[in-house]
């Protein structure tokens, strides 16, 4: 099993960086990731220094996948996400999107929570179940070098709960070698990641990567129970339409469904999961039990 230790922190999904690891299809890798605050918050008294690190969500990578060509895709199976330090941290700041209802008097502060026995000790009385996920996973896009803030066809900062152990994320390959990055692990996260800051933690994340000769238009996720198509963009109602449309096309091409029958089915059984709400990332989902062609 290969290991990729923490190295330079990248705040972009760039095809211009030197690959730090080369793997073959099928290999498993343990990857060290830094937290979304670039490691600046390890105790309650620490503050994030935006001067030093104006961007968030540093990534580990890029990983070169041998033989990966534009038009291929990667299946990134998430085996596990472990907290490197046994703790996670969150911070509150201006409630930008909520200020018109709640005002602006949110005290700026950081809050470190131990992780023990499958529980996050958020306060003396409240425990949150440990449900880790990756905020970011992505490949280098064909053009442009997006920061680790937005999400797109290359993946990126999707902030979906479903990017979790046991599930597989599928990503398009746009450039030779794929240039896979990941980071921004959370110990738990709500739909929408309301404050844009989850229970951030440095992690040891184990993934298995397979190269597939299949072209996909954007990220997809598979769980044991569901398949999901991901879309990003504002307004979110449009992103939901796009995600459902991609799910329908997937049912057509991959499962033999008639397009309009799939459209009708999803009206009744589709589900939506909301990522970081301010950039409009969503996953449209359907249960595998419904997938056999009618």
């Amino acid at each position: 099993m290969k290991r990729l230790p923490l190295g330079p922190l990248y705040y972009e999904f760039s095809r211009h960086c030197e690959p730090r690891l080369r793997i073959d299809s099928g290999e498993t890798v343990v990857i060290e990731t830094e937290d979304a605050f670039s490691g600046q918050i390890r105790s309650d008294s620490d503050r994030r220094d935006k001067q030093k690190c104006p961007e968030g969500n540093p990534q580990t990578g890029p990983i070169w996948v041998e033989d990966a060509q534009p038009g291929d895709s990667l299946a990134v199976r998430i085996e596990s996400i472990e907290p490197s330090l046994g703790q996670c941290a969150t911070r509150t700041s201006d409630p930008k999107q909520l200020a018109q209802w709640l005002g602006n008097e949110c005290p700026h502060g950081t809050h470190v929570c131990p992780i023990r026995d499958g529980q996050i000790e958020w306060s003396d009385r409240i425990r949150i179940p440990y449900r880790p996920m990756l905020g970011c996973v992505g490949t280098a896009p064909r053009a442009g070098v997006p920061t680790t803030g937005p999400a797109g066809a290359h993946g990126g900062n999707m902030d979906l709960i479903e990017t979790c152990p046991g599930n597989t994320v599928f990503l398009p390959v746009f450039v030779e070698g794929a240039y896979l990055y990941l980071g921004d692990a959370h110990a738990a996260m709500g739909h929408g990641e309301l404050s844009a800051s989850g229970l951030e933690m440095p992690s040891h994340t184990t993934i298995q990567v397979e190269l597939r000769r299949e072209t996909i238009p954007g990220p997809r996720i598979e769980s044991p129970e569901e398949i999901m198509a991901v879309a990003t963009g504002r307004p979110m109602e449009r992103a939901i339409a796009e995600a459902y449309a991609e799910l329908i096309l997937w049912m057509e091409q991959g499962f033999g469904w008639d397009r309009w029958r799939a459209y009708d089915l999803l009206t009744h059984v589709g589900r939506v999961s909301v990522g970081y709400f301010d950039i409009g990332t969503v996953a449209a989902k359907v249960g595998r039990c419904f997938l056999r062609s009618p």
Copy 2:
């Protein structure tokens, strides 16, 4: 137990109509509702006649609640939603919001499905679990007479999965008597109600209504496991922010939380349910297990 049979079909939430039933706080009522197609589709060969019924979602009501005054609220507990005819129907038409990805060649058609043994027989091979809900429930707003298309502070066409048996919907009272309406029952519905047409059915719906001397800003829902605040509007990312903000204020006023602690908690454990996506109705939710003040 009182009964309210089908009467004139109303396509507006109006305070100008004559109440058809008067109840006291605490009473239980069985209400007959027509389906969203105004009963025009009972077999696969029926078509919806928009000339005759240009609007959808006819309502049964209004119900006058004795003593209800502006500033009060109603707790509408949904006891059961039964299919009147043992079947439901859906129809496909232009996939307005999806056309840019899927094209416009969707065959227009109707599709009637028997409901038997807790299952909706959607096709020979596919069964959908019977999970009934009400698309519409609402009171007369203070000003304006909205149609049964949109949703708002008065409730209306929220199309949320959580408006289902076992849950309680809380609605503001804006005018004396409240003028409660409901209709648009579905045998099952996906997040977003993709085609704007669910598995529509006429129903016998049983509710219990309690009058409360509490002012609420908009609809709320309680289930045995969660509490939820509802907001509507486009873009949906803004509606999500508003729904979370209302949920935070509810935690503050109703459960003794500090506003900003609640904000931080929901970042990690909040959930979002998506109603009809094109009007941007959403519910922001939190588990009751997290509700005791920290």
Copy 3:
């Protein structure tokens, strides 16, 4: 010439109210309108009392137009808009949509400005040219009774600069008699009506109304130099698309253009005027000099 004095102030576009005036096609009427604050602000020390008048934009009307049938349209030519009191007023309050950039410390206040010699005396040093317009003009919609807040196919609170003397507003007729209302005159207004409060004034507005046997899908405006189609809705980028689409269909049906040639032309010469930005009202315009078919 008929006159319609101030009467009850209506805050809805309702077909349920008793017509206050009946006119024939071609008649000219002088209409007294109250200002958007319901006359509560006549001096700098006055405050708007939301308890007494929770809604804004009171309307004068309804006017019954003889022979007007659903499917017809009205051409409302605005002859003049005169200030009843020689002054106008504005007020500042929470800068809702701008708070995230500017903060919330906007002092709440009112500000009355004399109108003299074609100038609004906004301050000792700054004069604003008197360019009056109507914030609201509309007919009763077919279903629902919208308040005077939003805009729609029936017209309503469009807040377009082009609703001004010399121009003609075309409105659909949805119910027998049309039920024409107008109000919310401004002495001048910027694109977007940033604070949602213009230089509001009571007015004597003179209009000439003609009934036309032409069905139109929503409001249109004609000036001596341009024709314009109006659309409302969020997100505004979608409203712009809709307004341009309606303008193209008008060029096709009214001026003999090929649809796609019109589309190409407007790409190069179309103009957009922005109404109240938070509800997404826009007008798409084209110069009459370009209108002859190619």
Copy 4:
């Protein structure tokens, strides 16, 4: 006067490319730009080859400005924009955003128009006045390498009519040397650039560049009559709010206005210009005649 001939076509605003020209503050440069179709359409029978050039809007640059440091800004005065070939071209394709109103039957085609005597010969009968502007002008951003599709704090594909001869565009400097790019000249353009394809032309564009020790948050434009702040993003109603907010802060910092007085003034006299509508670029404007402090 320096000249920068056509060289490699760049489809990104990148700080990783080798500067092609170095200038001092105050210098004037004549720059050759290719058209948005990468020169593929020179006659009516040419077609755009997306295989060869998947992106649009190639840029000429980067230009290194001596002494430019992060935190500075550039004043790019546009002296003239001349058509290199005496003609421009447009093309029609799927009317993506308008399809729901107009259908999808738009014939795909190209259309080349001679430019003579200050007129664009769009058809035998219709002439469009020659009003050239630059679709794109921008600097390298601090992080990320955006394509020439979107716009942002670095400028980019703003598609504003006001980026025209006689006006000055102000751009932030994010990296040493600034890395200035420009391209995508149009012979004329409507608000919104409806089809996303203007009257595209290769050009000889003359600019004068001055370095300023002033930090600005995003693009600004000055004309002899107005000053303008530019913002981009969807939904457009939010971009309008942001642009107005930036204009208010500019009035505060640069012209001695009280913030809330400026807010009130712009409500009555502000104007909005719409760039490419689908990405939500807008300029908020105020006349210089109103700028002296009240």
